[in-house]
Each structure stands twice: as C-alpha cells, then as structure tokens.
Symmetry: C2
Subunit: 764 residues, 2 copies
C-alpha cells in the first residue's frame, strides 16, 4: 500500500493509513467494519474512482496486508511526531504533511473520520496510543502515599503491651529461630520442641503462673506472647499453647493449691511436658458425652482411668505422640456405680526417659494438613490407677468418706463451669489466627506493590495493587484485620476483668470471635495465596505453611459452626432475660414496633439516601449493625416459638432454625467488632492515624453492610439505590486505602525474619 502508485500520486490518501493499521491490527475485518469503511471512503469526493477502488481492495478480508507490510505501516506512523496528535485522522494528517507539507486536510474530512471511528467502535482519542509510549492513565499513576507515621500506628496497635511485644519479637528474630527445612516429621517435632524450650527458658511459658512457679502472674501478657509468637512458626505456637495454655492452665484453673505447688513450676519450665486430653474419637463437639471413666476405689483411695471402648480413646491430643509425660484427662467420675459426670484428673503417660506408663497405649496421629511440628496422638487407658489427690478438685472432689462433693450440684452445670474457666483458649486461638492473617496480608500486599502486569495501550505495566479487583481482594481483609485487632483486645480485657455474672456473656463473645476470626483467617489466607499467583504456591513464600497450619483453627477449641450455635443460644437466653416476664409474642410485637419506628420515622429518606457523607457516617453504620442484630435475634426467637407452639420438638425446631441462628451469632459479633473499632478510632489522639483508622473503620462497616445487603434489602432497611451506592463507596475506599496499604502492614511491625517470603522482602 505504502509504495503504491496511488499513494504516490495522491499523498493525501495517507490519511487512511492509521485507521487501516488499527483495523487490521485489531482483528480480522468483520462485515460491519467493511461496510463502515466503504461508507467513509465513498463519502470522500476528493478521491478518484481508481483510488477508491484501490482503497477498497485493501479491505478485502481474504487479502489483508502481510506481517511485513503491517510492520512497515507502523514504523512509518511511529516515525512522525505524535505528541500533538490525538485522533487517528490527526495522525493521518501528519503523515500527509510529511509527504507534502502543502496539502491541507479539511475539517469535514476529520469529521467524517470521527463518525466512522465511532461507528467502528474505536475510541478516537485513544487509538493513537498504540503508536506512542509512556502513556499515563489514572490507574498507572496511582501509587503508595502514606498519610501517617508508621511507628505511631504500631504504638496504637501494641498499646501498653509494647515492651513485652518487643521482647518476644527480639527472641523469635534470633538466628536460632530461623526457619529451616526438615528431613522428617521427627526432625520437625524436635526442632519445635527445642524452640518451645528456648521460649520456656525466657520465662514465657510460666508468664501467667504465680511467682512461686517462676511466673509473672500476668495472664494478659501470656495472650500477648501467644499472639506475638504467631508471627513465627505456628507449630511452635500450638505446642507452646498445649504445654503452657491447655496443660498448664487446666492444672491452674481446675486444680487447687496442692496441684499448683506440685506441678506449675515444672510445667512452666517445660521440665514436665504434658497434654490436655479431652476430645475422644466419638465425642468432639459434644464433649458432655465423653465416655472415658475414672472409677473411685475407696479402699485404696485411688481412681482407675479407663477407655471402655475404641470410640472413647482420646484423639488428636497434642504432645501425646512423643513428649508428654502427664495429661489432664477428662473422664466420667464413677463412685459406687453412680456416674457423677465429667471431671478432670492428672494422669501420668510416660516416665522422664520416655517409657510409657503401664496401661497407657499411644498411637501417633501421623501426618496432618499442617502443624506437623506438633506430635498429636491417640491415647488408650487400660485401668491406669492414680491417687485420689490427682483429681483436679477445684469444682468437685471425693471427701474423706469417699463421697462426692461439689459446690455445684448439677453435673451439667459443673461441667460447663469447668469448661468456662478454660475459655482462654478461645482467646489465644483467634489472636494467633489474626497474627497469621497479618503475615499473609503483609506478603500479599508487598508482592502486589512490586508485581506489575498489563497496562494501558502504549503505557507501562501497572502494579497489580492498582487493579480494583486486587484491591477488593486485599483491602477489606486489611481493614477487617485492624477491626479484629481491637475487638480481640476488648475481648481479652473483658476476660481479664470478668465478674461471675458476666461469665456466660464473655464465653459467648469468645466463642463468637473465635469462630469469626478463624473463618476470616482461612478466607484471607486463601485470597493471599491466589493474589500471589504461582509465587503464592511456592512453599518458600510461606503462605503454604500459614494456610495449612491455621486451617484447623476453625475446628479446634470448638468447631466454628457449633460455636456459632452456642453464641446464638446465649443471645436468645439473654434476650429472654432482658424481657423478663413478657411472653415471646409480646416481645416480638415490641421489637417489631421498635423496628417499625426506626424504619417509618427515621427512614423514608434514609432508605434511599446515597449521599456520601451519610454513607461514611459512623452512626449510620452502627445503627444499621445494631438494627440487624436485634431484628435477627427477635425473628429467630419468634420463629422458634412458632415451631414449638405448632407442636414441633424443640430439638427439631432448633435444627430448622440453624441457619437463622448462625446469622444471630454473626450479627452480634459484627456489631461488637464495629462498636469497638469506632470506639478505638474516637479515642485516637494522633490526627493522621485517626484519619487512616477512620477510613479502615468505614471500609469494614460498608464492606460488611455490602456483604449483608440481601438481608437489608429484604427488610426494607435499604433500597437498591442505596446498596448500589454502598458498593461504589466500598470500591472508592479500597482505592483510597490502597495508598496506605504498605504503611498499614508495616505498622504490624512483623519481624522480617518471620515474614521470610522472598516475594515480600523489603529490599528487593
């Protein structure tokens, strides 16, 4: 085409070149494209009929230009100065003028071209970018733009535990804690044991214990240690938790002074490794159904611990397969053939040199999806005899006459009171889970800042964190991880300050936050894995270990689904108590009336309010969360009542309502999380941190509202215009938060040696 006679004779024809190139480069010519081009060409009265024929021949889909020809067109076009050109016909005009500066292109021709380009679906103003380079767009230019001082934010996160956190970080950053590959399961378990020993040597194991056991009497510090250790290997954290948390705390909380004196010091120093033997093969969630027996013999003043059938063997018991020398064993106490319910006993498993005690049989659980540094085992007891003193006797004991005594008469209630004292596990686990999420997010966000892929025509590739979907993957979890940080701090404080009458509320709060946080962790680490693509799949980048080690967090310390049902039942009980004598219908009418009030009186405008100021308003958020919590709770109560009134068995009614009850638990937990986050924001004094946290809090709130929008729409609490506006606002907040993303993860201040992923190295 370029060298043809026609072009030589009429250089003005060069105006077609950029358009022809663009069409051929894009794709084969479709019939529509051909006809539009015919229209354009036939309109031009300055072209002779021979020339027209020539041009049209170049639009024959069967005989397009060959590669070389296409390349020479492009070269020709790129050779001219493109800076001042914007449309394809302007570029064409430059080409024409290059041939002959005296030829001018009439405005009408440009208009014809613009029309044709539009009909062809080309974006005139952009078409020229193909020939340019360095094209910048909003997406290209967006970048990190930190708005606060990182160390101030770290200070807010760490609070009064800052010094202890620093101390723990210093320990796990020591070269002896460097990650390594393992030759075998045994190798890994020994390494983890050694790390735990090193932590015990630092005094971390005994931290919560009394001073005579070399402890600091500091439960809050113990949780801080668990959480901070979780930036490092999670097998180590779980082994640590089994030894000092489960084994140690069970002796501490279920035993009396004599047990404390006898055991705590050796537990805290790891001289006496032990287990927490509650779960049985046949009974995991339904622990009340445990079948192991502890039969009292008043003659010898001993208990005989026994596994009556294979389903009653203790299963998944941490520290059992290799290292445990004793265990807190939960078993049904039998006196004179009478069953006094589940109680706890200290039972020896191995001598110091590792030999199994007579009557104890242990199997190794073998490889697991993760946490392979923890030696889980199965334990069978064949009439293992222990002295009377080794019953952990805070809540029940056998008196001198060989009779059962307990301040709590009901077996059930006693059992749940015992369990209640162990609620600490349901605080430690979510805090550990959250730390793992923070590490995952640190890796994924750093990678997304550095990784570039795709870009505008004629421009550079763009960091993938600038893509809206990538932001949607990582920014809401980032906001949620801040939200959960403050919620878990609140839970910890409530637990530490608890009064007896608050026990059940706090247990429900712990159960709910445990479930919510660990599910969040599973989902977040999955996003992080995918967001890092193939790099995320390589073990060296650590998402593998983070994901697989935490996967069981949704199961242990209580299966999440079961926990959420517990939370819901607790809420229903509170609900009943709050409303005292009112019967369910009265209550429901009351709640409905309240709800109606809030909709009818407050909301004819609100349900459709898409004003950004309103959408970002803390009060709007919290009201919506509270409304959801109350409305779901009261409708669940009404639903249950209706089924039961209609003659349904309450067990069946609860089953029918399970899905509803799950939402009761979730709505409650989400309200608590938001409330605590808002409270923290309001109390923040550093203005720039406050602004950054405000944005995160808004993102958490709106993202959660968006997630639950089906419900709000069903209720008429919002209309479609509003939920759509919320979605847009979430997108915008993600875009804004992205500027602080790196700073926000750096504020977690995770030791670089713990992050360790090559794709997340700060200095690459």
């Amino acid at each position: 085409m370029l060298h043809s006679e026609e072009l030589h004779n009429n250089p003005k024809l060069h105006i077609f070149l950029p358009l022809f190139y663009t069409l051929w480069m894009d794709s084969v010519l479709t019939p529509t494209e051909i006809s539009e081009m015919h229209k354009l060409i036939n309109k031009q009265d300055w072209i002779s009929s021979t020339e027209k024929e020539y041009l049209l021949s170049k639009l024959n889909p069967a005989e397009g230009p060959n590669s070389k020809e296409l390349k020479s067109w492009k070269k020709k076009i790129k050779s001219i100065d493109l800076d001042s050109t914007h449309s394809l016909s302007q570029i064409g005009e430059s080409l024409v003028k290059q041939e002959n500066p005296n030829i001018s292109i009439e405005e009408k021709i440009h208009l014809d071209f613009q029309e044709a380009e539009k009909a062809l679906g080309l974006l005139s103003k952009e078409a020229g970018f193909t020939f340019k380079s360095g094209h910048q767009t909003i997406t290209t230019k967006h970048r990190e733009d930190q708005s606060f001082a990182t160390e101030k934010m770290t200070g807010i996160l760490d609070g009064k535990q800052a010094n202890l956190i620093k101390k723990v970080k210093a320990v796990i950053s020591d070269p002896t804690f460097a990650y390594r590959d393992y030759d075998s399961l045994l190798d890994q378990r020994e390494q983890v044991l050694q790390w735990c020993q090193a932590l015990a040597d630092q005094g971390f194991g005994a931290w919560a214990f009394p001073e005579y056991a070399k402890g600091k009497d500091d439960m809050e510090g113990y949780f801080t240690i668990m959480e901070t250790l979780s930036y490092h290997d999670l097998s180590m954290v779980i082994k640590f938790g089994v030894q000092f948390g489960l084994w140690g705390m069970s002796v501490f909380f279920l035993g009396s002074e004599k047990h404390h004196q006898k055991y705590l010091k050796d537990i805290g120093s790891l001289e006496l490794p032990g287990c927490f033997a509650m779960t049985e093969t046949g009974h995991g969630s339904n622990v009340r159904g445990l079948e192991t027996t502890a039969t009292y013999d008043h003659e010898t003043k001993t208990f005989s611990i026994h596994t009556p059938n294979p389903d009653a063997r203790k299963e998944y018991i941490g520290n059992a397969a290799l290292h445990g020398q004793m265990a807190t064993v939960f078993a049904k106490l039998i006196i004179d053939g009478e069953d006094y319910g589940v109680n706890a006993f200290v039972v020896p498993l191995r001598s110091e040199d590792g030999k199994l005690v007579k009557g104890v049989r242990i199997e190794d659980c073998g490889r697991k999806m993760g946490l392979n540094g923890v030696d889980n085992g199965v334990i069978y007891f064949d009439n293992v005899v222990i002295p009377k003193e080794d019953m952990l006797d805070k809540f029940a004991f056998v008196n001198e006459q060989g009779e059962f005594e307990s301040p709590i008469s009901s077996d059930n209630r006693r059992f749940f009171t015992m369990l209640g004292t162990l609620v600490g596990g349901r605080i430690g686990i979510p805090r550990s889970a959250l730390a793992a999420s923070k590490t995952g997010l640190t890796i994924a966000i750093r990678h997304a800042e550095k990784r570039k892929q795709f870009g505008p025509e004629g421009g550079e590739e763009v960091p993938i964190l600038n893509y809206r979907l990538h932001q949607r993957r990582l920014m809401p979890p980032l906001a949620t991880s801040y939200a959960l940080h403050f919620a878990l701090r609140y839970l910890t404080q409530r637990f530490l300050d608890r009064k007896e009458e608050e026990a059940q509320e706090i247990e429900a709060l712990a159960a709910g936050l445990k479930a919510y946080t660990t599910w969040f962790t599973t989902a977040t680490l999955q996003e992080c894995r995918e967001a890092c693509g193939g790099k995320g799949y390589l073990s060296e980048n650590r998402i593998d270990a983070l994901k697989n080690d935490t996967d069981v967090y949704t199961t242990f310390e209580g299966d999440n689904v079961v926990l959420m049902q517990l939370v819901a039942k607790n809420r229903l009980t509170e609900f009943r108590q709050e409303f005292g004598h009112m019967n369910m219908f009265t209550i429901f009418n009351y709640i409905t009336a309240q709800a109606k009030t809030s909709i009818v009186e407050k909301n004819p405008i609100t349900v459709r309010n898409t004003d950004s100021k309103h959408l970002l308003d803390f009060d709007f958020h919290l009201n919506a969360f509270v409304y959801r919590e109350k409305a779901i709770l009261s409708s669940a109560a009404q639903r249950l009542k209706k089924h039961i009134d209609e003659g349904m068995d309450s067990f069946d009614a609860t089953n029918v309502a399970q899905h509803h009850l799950q939402n009761v638990g979730q709505a409650y937990i989400e309200r608590v999380i938001l409330e605590q986050f808002q409270k923290t924001v309001n109390e923040t004094t550093d203005e720039s941190c406050k602004m950054a946290l405000t944005q995160l809090c808004q993102l958490y709130a709106l993202y959660t509202l968006e997630k639950n929008r089906g419900w709000y729409l069903e209720q008429g609490y919002m209309e479609g215009v509003k939920t759509k506006a919320i979605r847009k606002e979430v997108n915008q907040l993600c875009w804004e938060v992205r500027k602080n993303a790196s700073a926000l993860i750096n504020a977690f201040d995770i030791p670089e040696s713990c992050i360790a992923a090559p794709i997340a190295m700060k200095t690459e």
Copy 2:
C-alpha cells in the same frame, strides 16, 4: 427433700419433685424463676403453711440440693413408668400415686403447673424427656432413602465414555497405584514418573494423537482419561497433563506434519519427556509481554534462544527440574532486528542421560503447597542454538529467503490464535478439579452419615448429616458438582465440534468454566475439610492432598480473575456485534425497555410469588438467570460507555468496572450451567433418575438465586418475601436431597482404593 417429714406427711407434695429437679438441673435459680415458683406454691390451697415454708426453703439459691440429693431425685423419677406421662406435673402425679395410689391430683393443679412451666420458659411436653430414653424426633428419624438405581445414574454421568472410564479406573485401582508415603521429594517425583510411565504403557498418553504415533485420534477420550485419573493422585494427573497435554499438544497443534512425525510417538510413549515453557517470572497472566528471544540467523539457518534478563527466565515449568529433555519454548521471534511477536520453538534441555544441554540452566522450584510429585523448575537460556526446522510453524515460519511469513499478519492476533488452539488445557483442568471435588464430597458425605453428635434430650445422638447447617455445607456443592459435570461435558463437545467462527465463544466458555469450577473446587474442599472436623485435618483422610494439590488450579492455565475479565470482554464484544450499528445508548435503551417489559408486564405478581410450585419451576429459574445475564451485561456496557464519554481512558474505565465485569462473566457462566443441567434432566429417560436430578437442578438454581439475591432485590426482580421463600425452599431441598446423598456420591463410582480415606470406608 425426699426423706423429709413434710413429704412423708403429705405425699402429694411429690408433684413438685420433677419441676424442682428440672430447675436445679438446668441452672442456678434466677430471681424470675424463684418468683414464679413462689407464685405457684402460694396458689396451692392444699398445702399447709409449714409445707409451703419447707418448699420455699428448697428454692434458696444459696442452699440448693447437693449432687447426691439431685441424683436420688432423678433416680426416684426414673423408677416410675414414664411412657404415659407427658408433662412434669403428670410425672409428678405418678410419683404421688406411687406413694399413695389413693391420692388424686385435681385438674386445677395441673393447670397451675402448666402456667408456671410456661412462665418459667419450660416446654411442658418436652420436660419429661430428661427422664426417658429413646426419644425420637423428626431430626432423629431422618435418614438415607435412595430413590433411584445407582448404576443407572452412573450410566447417565458416564454416557458414551463409560467403557473408557472403566478401563482407566481398572488401571488406577491396580495395587501398583496404591498411595504411599514418601521419604523425600525425590522419592515422590520418581513414583509419579513411574505411574505416568505405566499410564503411557497403557496407551493413555498418546490417546489424542494420530494412529502413526500409536494414538487413537480421540481427543474426547483424552479428556475422559484426564478426568478419570483425577480420582487418583493429582501430581500424577498434572505430570501426565504436562507431558501429553501441554508438551504433546503444543507440538501437535502448533507444529506441522514434520514435527508430528518426528516427536509425537516418543512423547506419547514418554520416551521423550518434555515441558511447556511459556510463563516467565515477569510475565504470567500478561503472556503477550514475554521477553525470551529467538533470534534468527539466516547464515546458519538457526535460532538462538535467549533469556535477556532474570525476569525473563521461564518459571514454574513442570517436568523441568528433573525429567524434561525438550521444551516448547515461547519466545519473541527477532529477524534482522525486527520483532515478530511471540512464537513457539522446540528446544532441547537435557540429553537422554539427564545432562543439561550447553547454555541451559535449570533451578528447582522446590517445595510447593501441593503437587510435589511434579518437578517444577526455572529455566534460563544462554544463546541456545536450534535449527530452523524446530520452530513450530503452523501459524508462522521463516521462509527460504529468511523472511517471516504467516497467514495471520497481526502479531497479536497470531499469538491469540496460537493460544486458542491450546484451550484444551482449560477443559482438562476444570474436569480434573471437578473429579477432586467429587472425591472430597464422597469422603465428607460418608463421614457425615456415620458420624453422630448431639441429639434430643433423652434420645440418641444424630448423624451430623441430619443437621440443617451440615446439609447446607454439603448438599449445594453436591448439586453443583452434578451441574458442572454436565456443563463440562457440553463444553468438551462444543470444543470437539468447533467451527472457526465459534472459536472465541468457546474460548470464553472454557475460560469461564475453568474459573468457576476451580473456585468451586477450592471452596468445596474447604467445606469438606471443616465438615470432617479434626478427622478432615489428618492426612490419611486425603482432604489435605486434594485441597493442596488443587489449590493452584485457580492460578494455572490462566489466573481466574484475569480469565473472568476475559470472559466479560468477550461477552461485551458479542454484545456489540449482536446489536450491530446501534450505538451503546440505543442498545441500552432497548435492553432496558426489554427488561422493563419483563418486569412490568410479567411480574407485578411474580416478584412476590412465593408459591412452592412456582419457586421450583425450571422456567422461573432459567428466566431469572437469563435476565441477570442480560441486565448485567448491558449495564456494564452502559457504565463503560459513560466513563469513556466523560473522558476517562478506556484502561481506567475497565479498571473501574472490574468488579462489575467479574459479575458479567459469572452470570454468563451460571446461565450456561443451568441451561445444560435442565437440558440433561429433560433428556433423561429413567424416571427415578430424572426425579433425583430434577431436585438437584432445582437446588443448584435456587441456591444460586439465593447467593445472588442482593442483586435481584436491588433490581426489583424479586421482593423480600420471595427471596425469603427461596431460602426456605433451599433448606427444604437440602433436607430432601440428603436422603439421596450417599447414593448420589456412590453414583460417581470412584474406586474405593482411590478414595482411601479411613473415615470414608464403605464397610466400617
């Protein structure tokens, strides 16, 4: 209490015993409970004031009965015949009559008790269950109840591939294919290689190749083989796919006869292990940006393959770390300094004895989250020279004059045409993923049938599959796995029968189904893991391997997020073509008008229709899916146009719309899946299978509508009453499908030796 003087003097007081026991067993006494009991007692004019005082003293929260007392009450109550009693006062009456058969209890007393029990929040008719056993409820009684013949369903699933499927299953059930533990990465990789060799020996590797290469010329069979193998070890499947699918098919589809003759036979027999070297460290999704070069030298008629910088090294290449002897390498072809875009070349890596070819450097990718039986590696080329004939020349070649020639002039278009021929990978992967989901569901459902936990008061524990939330975890994925089975069969058929003009549509379909299915697999296996609790975490139960091996399926063969954007762009293009000349606004008005029509004319009743017959109707389902697909597509088109008209760069506009575009892709894929499922159901002749499939199809449809209900409510396509009714219908379908659950997974007919999980053994 029992032995007190008062009771002895007035045996009628025994009527209080069951109620007192129930209150004390339940919990401590709350003030409300105490006051209600006071009310009840004070109403009884047959009780003397001393007796009243005595009874009230037993309600002192500080001095409740002790354990032994409580137990003796219970024993006393259980000693009477409880069968004919229903309320606590009736049980009390029996106790009274046991003391003195002549005493009668007036109706008024029963009424007082009933009132009190209600005020106390006790369910009178159930309170007695505490003392009974064998209490049955709806939830207890629900069980497996198969409604179709398993082998008939298997026949429907397998279709005309049944014989080949049987053959493959027979091979992988052979003892040589038994799963085993590995001592090391090397050990695992060698085992997987051996398995692949055994499969090649069966002729499976060459199945799709021409007969002269010992193949069957049967592409459909090749997909069937990939899918069926996926019931076994997935490292084996991926290694198999790398060798015969990626390496073999790239030679087959990108090369010409001379390459086929030279290589296919040895590839099919695994005598020539090879790689598919496309992805580079710097370019994964954006393959168009690959930087490896193939520079042509006309003097020697050779290409020099070179890695110009570290980011251009080939990464994650399967078969590279250990076994690959050659590779299809994608590189930019350079002739005389001119870049002719990405083309494919056959490049040697190792000699037969494993020695690296000069200029080739390979690093091992090391451990991965899963698929550790595949030896992924990183490849660097340092000016590796290959002869001119080793360019795979179906779409481009260098002619005798040393010039580039291609039937496709545009570099881009040529590249995408080349990629298009490799779309088979995007069919094989989702079919493999689905097989893994089926195995996971088989394990989780069998476990849920056998595992019992919790139960009604006084009744046995219940299989966890009877719990509504557990059904919600597993039944919708079960339905979806059937849905996807038929959708992937449809995709395969479309691919096999494709005409040139359908190529892009089929590519989009494959991309979309690949993304949808692999995300489904990740989510489903996660549910399966959690649904199996601690057992699911043990490696022996295989969910570990299934989950970790398939995790990267969402990334390889195209990152899912990127693929969904591609699908959306394809839909927008089709949309533009369908509407020809109309400009976007016209189109949008047209669509909106259509949509309005369907809402206004058809739906004033429909939007609120909660009739079960309507909700289960296939037409309702498909209309709703189609409406969503069209409306989202046209609104995405309008949105993009609006941004661009307002002056936004199209790259930015696409970025802003990413989330919207993701939904475009999803809505399209969901419509296709439902359409194909309904079609299959309608074509099913066996009536009992048809009914079972109908239920699954309804569940898939309604579950998906429920998931998307936020959107339907926003659009006004449904009102809240209807989406709530859908939720209820989903719960009910889960409850119904549960009866067939075991049969439906047995119909997958996965070899027991492949399932292998102890918790899923058929005969336990």
